[in-house]
């Protein structure tokens, strides 16, 4: 187990280096002068030169990269051009809504996916199954932003049950906070639920066909007991993998969801920074997201080895 973790960690180092190089290169991919892209044409030349010097863009590129990496290693991700605050502060102010949204969406998706997938697998090839697989297909093909607008139209505009935008912290305001997160979390959760349903259904079907299930039934165990203790447990492994694989989609979905519902999260920060052409902020946030993404994938890998000894021993 320790070797697996060490091996995975080592393999991450070159990837991390390339990721930082990529993020650094981002600024230099802009056609023309990046300063012109960041500041309006009307801004006078001295202000532009000042920003150029501040960002070190007047130096040769290898020197810039070395300086940037040096700051990075000391934990300095740079400053936003717009509000002058360090990237870290910009992100830490935005992280709470994003985490709350992600956790709530995850909870919603599992609450929906498990019953639907179990019903689908147990009643394989019946109307129930078809309903379940149709739901999964619907969730996978439905663009996030469209689902968000449909929910807003139905529950916000027509029925007026829930707020359609804005954020209230549920940890401070309680119920009002939860209400402000319901529609965003359902938007994000349904797509995830669809993917989990699809995976869980097919892994349940595989597990149901195993000899040990036949043995358990032959012993005279109740079907609910067989499903709970023998089938479900063995069918969970692919679900963990899929949850890990879906992380990227989840983050992308969160970007769109936060944008539509005006949630002040990290995803919204990315979009705002992109459109404000605040490149240092874009670079910093994207680097943080990528590192977080790599770290969670690492965690999923390790978790996978922990759940399934067959992987660990390979």
């Amino acid at each position: 187990m320790g070797r697996l973790i060490a091996h995975r960690l080592l393999a991450t180092i070159p990837v991390l280096l390339l990721v930082t190089a990529g993020v650094f290169a981002l600024l230099h991919l802009t056609p023309g002068d990046p300063i012109d892209a960041m500041m309006a044409e009307s801004v006078d030349a001295t202000a532009k030169d000042a920003l150029r010097r501040e960002l070190g863009l007047d130096r040769p590129i290898p020197v810039q990269y070395a300086a940037w990496m040096g700051r990075l290693l000391r934990g300095d991700l740079g400053r936003s051009i717009r509000n002058g605050e360090p990237v870290i502060e910009n992100v830490s102010r935005r992280i709470r809504p994003s985490l709350e949204l992600a956790l709530l969406a995850m909870a919603i998706s599992l609450t929906i996916a498990f019953p639907v997938a179990i019903a689908s697998a147990v009643h394989h090839n019946t109307g129930v199954d078809r309903l379940g697989t149709t739901f999964a297909l619907f969730g996978i093909c439905m663009p996030n932003f469209l689902l968000a607008l449909l929910l807003i139209f139905l529950f916000g505009v027509t029925l007026r049950w829930l707020p359609i935008s804005g954020y209230v912290d549920p940890l401070e305001e309680g119920w009002a906070g939860v209400r402000s997160l319901v529609l965003p979390a359902v938007t994000l959760g349904l797509a995830l639920a669809a993917v989990v349903t699809r995976t869980l259904r097919s892994s349940l079907l595989d597990a149901l066909a195993e000899d040990y299930v036949r043995t358990a039934r032959a012993k005279g165990l109740a079907e609910s007991h067989v499903i709970r203790r023998h089938v479900l447990k063995n069918a969970l492994i692919p679900v963990v993998t899929v949850l890990g694989l879906q992380l990227g989609t989840l983050i992308g979905g969160a970007v769109i969801t936060e944008y539509v519902f005006a949630l002040p999260g990290v995803g919204r920060l990315v979009v705002d920074a992109v459109f404000a052409r605040d490149y240092p902020l874009v670079q910093g946030v994207i680097l943080l997201i990528a590192v977080g993404f790599i770290a969670s994938n690492l965690l999923v890998d390790v978790l996978y080895g922990w759940i399934d000894p067959r992987i660990r021993l390979r």
Binding site: C141, F145, L146, L247, G252, F275, V282
Partner: protein, 302 residues
């Protein structure tokens, strides 16, 4: 000696004929399986309809998609405007029809870029091995370390708003999948006896790659490409919903949905028209992708 040459040539041809028959049989089976898949016909119909609409957009669109008519703004769907009008009185149906072009171009071109770049990188990596392989694959891992939409957003922003930027951004995002797939195929095929035989006969590397590796690796690449198109269309719509991609007044389904979002209460049809077009297209292309996968790669069925 002289007599043995035509004989062996005949034997060769017979073997080739038998091989060809087996191949065409396999293709026929693949096609039949694809057609038998219950939902494939619906998917194919959607794809053909979308292609037709995109090609015939100038003929099919009842109005100029850019013509504003403030007098008839926010009109509900009716006889004059089948899908209603938007906030500046443009015909929603005409804009949906023209938007089909953008979506299909985005889906097919970005996947083509990714399939081409990914295949070349995968062949280079798998074929050279060693350092080249290590470098190419680590770069691919690095690209995969970014959540796809976030990477596309950043690249699109840097490359500038417009369809080209989005096409390149999505092409980059999908490249690693194809590179990994192709590299795996190359490694498998490289170990086969017939490749070794070709090499022993002195065939140059490019000919081995072209004649032996590529045809054998083509099927999984086609499968992956057909499954990717639907997602690329979704991704383009998401990016143009966020404001990248085609700029106003150009019509793309994503940007139309974003523009209509402020009018959900008075005029929900501005969102529902392009939304329905997007959803149906993506569902249809998914069915086509699944059918192609089932047909070409029975092992993946399920």
């Amino acid at each position: 000696m002289a007599g043995s040459i035509p004989e062996s040539a005949f034997a060769d041809r017979a073997a080739a004929l038998a091989g060809a028959a087996a191949v065409s049989d396999r293709r026929w089976d693949a096609l039949r399986r694809a057609a038998r898949a219950r939902l494939a016909p619906f998917g194919a119909a959607v794809l053909i309809a979308a292609l037709a609409v995109a090609l015939a957009a100038p003929v099919l669109a009842p109005y100029d998609p850019y013509a504003q008519d403030l007098g008839s703004a926010l009109q509900a769907p009716g006889r004059a405007h089948l899908l209603g009008t938007d906030n500046v009185g443009r015909d929603v149906l005409s804009r949906v029809i023209w938007g089909t072009r953008v979506s299909l171009v985005a889906g097919f071109v970005s996947v083509a870029i990714a399939a081409l770049a990914g295949s070349l990188l995968g062949i280079a990596a798998g074929y050279s091995g060693g350092r080249v392989d290590g470098l190419v694959m680590r770069v691919m891992d690095a690209v995969l370390s970014f959540p796809p939409l976030v990477l596309a957003l950043a690249l699109g922003a840097v490359l500038g708003a417009g369809l080209t930027g989005v096409l390149i951004a999505l092409g980059v995002v999908y490249t690693p999948t194809f590179a990994r797939l192709m590299r795996g195929q190359v490694l498998t095929v490289k170990a086969r006896d017939y490749v070794e035989a070709a090499r022993a006969l002195g065939a140059p590397a490019w000919r081995i790659a072209w004649q032996h590796v590529l045809p054998n690796a083509a099927a999984p690449i086609v499968v992956q490409a057909s499954l990717s198109v639907a997602f690329a269309i979704l991704a383009e719509a998401s990016l143009s919903f966020l404001g990248l991609g085609i700029q106003p007044p150009g019509a793309s389904w994503g940007s139309m949905i974003n523009a209509g979002r402020g009018y959900l209460q008075q005029a929900p049809w501005i969102v529902f028209g392009p939304g329905a077009a997007l959803f149906v297209t993506v569902v249809g292309l998914n069915f086509v992708g699944d059918a192609i996968r089932d047909g070409l790669d029975p092992r993946l069925r399920g």
